[in-house]
């Protein structure tokens, strides 16, 4: 069934969108990630204009992270105070990100920026995750149970001023590192159309030293606000949020996520991580090839004016 998207102004197969939402939902349920970093490139591949894909995906992430955070709130695994600090930074970052996005859109370089961000971040995260999980897999085969890797010392972070107590996380640290992390992830969220969980989660564990059990819930909590704000900014400045596209994706997504969560419990953590790493690297590779290989059509069309 073909459906005409009012903002993207293209006609696409509704079942294809539901299916994409479903598949990404299954993956995000399996791996506990938002899935934005997979969905946005997939939307590029099926011909949704990148500006619309980025803005609409932000809207879809609001739905999936809201659905996720409810479960975490019930289990009391959300550090609301830390989340508030992170999202303060996140809102500033999202604002900056949209400004950069709109400036480059005028120059005709926004596709390049978005794709470069994807290649760089997916490459780094995917590569690190792949190496790490291979090592973990080998260790678990050799010794049966692997000891947790020791955390790096965070001496310089403790020297910073404006300290605050975060009871749920059991931390007494300066508010500067979480603010900076928030700003950086906010910028990425606005430019890449992702929640930024795949950067936020490692940053919270390794940089801020938060306990793993509150990391996912807190990350989801602040993602809701940052992506909702990003959606509003894109809707009011670029008019690129396609509500019909968002609804189709999130219907598939929320159903897929529940199925994925069940599959996830049947697989081992190391196997899951390796699968996720391979997938991230595959998307990264496809985007990198598009940038490196001479395109079939050197010319592209864009609306005039606005810069």
């Amino acid at each position: 069934m073909m459906i005409y998207l009012p903002i993207a102004e293209v006609s696409v197969n509704a079942f294809l969108l539901l299916g994409l939402g479903g598949i990404v939902g299954v993956l995000s349920g399996m791996f506990g990630v938002g899935g934005g970093f997979l969905m946005t490139p997939l939307l590029f591949f099926i011909g949704i204009p990148p500006a619309v894909a980025v803005a609409t995906e932000a809207n879809q992430i609001v739905a999936s992270s809201f659905s996720g955070v409810l479960a975490h709130l019930k289990r009391k695994t959300v550090d609301l105070k830390m989340g508030t600090v992170l999202l303060t930074g996140g809102l500033v970052g999202a604002g900056l990100g949209v400004i950069v996005f709109n400036y480059l859109k005028g120059l005709g370089q926004v596709d390049l920026l978005v794709k470069l961000c994807y290649v760089v971040f997916l490459g780094i995260i995917g590569g690190l995750m792949f190496v790490e999980s291979l090592r973990a897999l080998r260790r678990s085969r050799a010794a049966g149970g692997a000891p947790l890797p020791r955390r790096r010392s965070r001496g310089w972070i403790h020297a910073l001023p404006f300290k605050m107590r975060f009871r749920t996380s059991g931390l007494y640290i300066s508010v500067i590192p979480p603010l900076v992390v928030g700003v950086l992830v906010g910028i990425l969220a606005a430019i890449m159309g992702v929640g930024g969980g795949f950067i936020m989660v490692p940053a919270m564990i390794y940089l801020l030293g938060m306990p793993t059990k509150v990391v996912v819930g807190t990350s989801l909590f602040q993602i809701i606000f940052v992506t909702a704000f990003t959606t509003l900014l894109h809707a009011t400045t670029n008019f690129t949020v396609d509500i019909v596209l968002a609804v189709l994706l999130l219907v598939g997504g929320v159903i897929g996520a529940q199925i994925g969560a069940r599959i996830g419990t049947k697989l081992k953590a190391e196997q899951l991580r390796i699968l996720l790493a391979i997938m991230v690297l595959a998307v990264c590779g496809k985007l990198a090839l598009d940038l490196l290989i001479q395109p079939g059509e050197l010319y592209s069309l864009g609306a005039s004016g606005g810069h």
């Binding site: 102004e9 370089q109 809707a235 069309l301 005039s304």
Partner: protein, 251 residues
């Protein structure tokens, strides 16, 4: 007095001996949620006060043009090992959709001078004035614009696509793709003899979003804040609904 009447009669007489009477299968295209392109039938007859001229063949050319917009055409080049947009040329006005159907091969049916005058062929329908000094081959940008739009079905040259019966009745069909821009689509019919336009008639077809498409599109442009808040509200409701439904199923 008699001379005056004669002059008046001459003035009021049709400028051309042959005139077009036009019909359209529809004068409105509604873009609905299920919109997947549209086919338009354009047909008509030729009205004459005199017998059919025997010394020349009659040809009919029909054009259908979407609203014109300025367009930026960008070209990629290799910089630092990756392909990025470097040069850009502004095309002042290019129709978002353009189809030209002729009863023969367009270039044989219509003289170049007449094409220039009436802007009939695809190349002439596009208006491009200046290119920045850094770009020396602005021609190739216009060609690229036509090539890209022709490949996606937005620009169509339909030679031998108008059927003319008895030099009196004519008809053609134009297929419009799904990715249409809203607006008034100008339809022009040219009667051509010996490569010269002897009569012209024009009308328009309204292409517009309707129903939900119309409502969402207007809301997103006129009340972007409300539209944005609505998107977020739907997302939150869906997220809450999904988790509630699955909790109920599990319980």
């Amino acid at each position: 007095m008699r001379v005056l009447l004669l002059i008046l009669a001459l003035l009021s007489a049709p400028a051309a001996a042959e005139e077009v009477v036009l019909g359209l299968s529809r004068d409105e295209v509604a873009i609905t949620t299920r919109f997947d392109g549209s086919e338009i039938l354009i047909f008509g007859a030729i009205k004459r006060e005199e017998p059919i001229p025997a010394d020349s063949e009659l040809d009919v050319i029909i054009t259908l043009a979407g609203p014109s917009q300025p367009i930026t055409v960008r070209r990629k080049a290799r910089r630092f090992g990756i392909w990025i947009n470097t040069d850009a040329v502004e095309v002042d006005a290019a129709p978002s959709f353009y189809a030209v159907a002729a009863s023969g091969v367009l270039t044989e049916v219509l003289k170049d001078v007449e094409d220039l005058r009436y802007r009939v062929s695809i190349n002439r329908a596009i208006r491009s004035v200046g290119a920045p000094e850094t770009v020396t081959d602005s021609e190739s940008f216009t060609e690229a614009l036509i090539r890209i739009r022709r490949d996606s079905g937005l620009y169509q040259r339909l030679d031998d696509h108008v059927v003319v019966d008895q030099q009196t009745l004519f008809r053609t069909s134009v297929t419009m793709p799904a990715n249409l821009t809203e607006g008034a689509y100008a339809t022009r019919i040219f009667l051509v003899r010996d490569g010269v336009v002897v009569s012209e008639k024009s009308t328009k077809i309204d292409v517009r979003k309707v129903g939900l498409e119309r409502w969402l599109f207007s809301l997103s442009r006129q009340q972007p804040l409300i539209y944005g808040l609505l998107s977020i509200a739907i997302a939150i409701a869906a997220g809450w609904g999904a988790s509630a439904v699955f909790r109920y199923i599990r319980a």
